[in-house]
Amino acid sequence: MIAVLICQIVLSIVLASVFLIRPSLTHALGWKLLAFIGLFLLPAMCVVGGMNTHIQRSEQTRFCISCHVMIPYGQSLYLEDPAHIPAQHFQNHRVPVDTACYSCHADYTIYGPLKDKLQGLKRIYAQYVSTPPDPAAIRIAGGFKNAQCLHCHLGARNFEENAVHAALLDSLKSEQTSCLTSGCHDTAHDIANLSHLKFWRPAQ
């Protein structure tokens, strides 16, 4: 996909170079059309394609952990103890391995991906301009929402047949009871204790 986009960009550069060197060519009608393609249509398509590629890339697990402060969070996906919710989901492929972070931390609303990108830009600002945060002290703005769990679990048989879940379903949907902080599934990444915990080593 990136190769196709790069070919399109190179073609656009070649066309734009023609008008950089010989702008007088645009006197003829055929060249006028070519100028419209080379200086408007193709570059606009390249920007749209580039934005799409960058947004898809930023959903990848390896993109998330390419930030220094996120490295311990990536390591926590390999914790041995199945009580750690992210590790259990990642190791058992309950979330796509390539987009594991995005699957649980995306805001599943119409402007969710845009809000996520703005949050990401704030983190980049903190990393390079302001003070980088301590990885163990990073908290999700507004707390982790049940909606992110219910996006997959709601309607699943093993979730709804669980007596506790069934009794608390309305409370979970309305965010009155938190999946994570109510004491039921309270072990998430546990970055502060990472050095004392055992890790799972995949066979491959």
Binding site: T26, L39, F40, A44, C46, M51, H54, G120
Partner: protein, 67 residues
């Protein structure tokens, strides 16, 4: 100086230069797997391309073609 007095050739040179600069930066951002690559794309590459396109469109509207 009025926009219409600036030659079409000059407009085309500047706009194609900006478009080329933006596209080269876009290639770099696509090949560089780093959190800053998105910043490079969104703030530098897309801005340069957008400005180049805008200049080209302005030249079409305001600059009269030579006789």
């Amino acid at each position: 100086m009025r926009i219409s007095e600036i030659g079409m050739g000059r407009f085309l040179r500047i706009s194609s230069g900006l478009v080329i600069l933006g596209l080269v930066l876009e290639i770099v951002s696509l090949l560089w797997f780093h959190p800053l690559s998105f910043v490079l794309f969104a703030f530098l590459a897309a801005s340069a391309i957008g400005l180049g396109i805008l200049l080209y469109l302005v030249s079409l509207v305001f600059v009269a073609p030579p006789p």
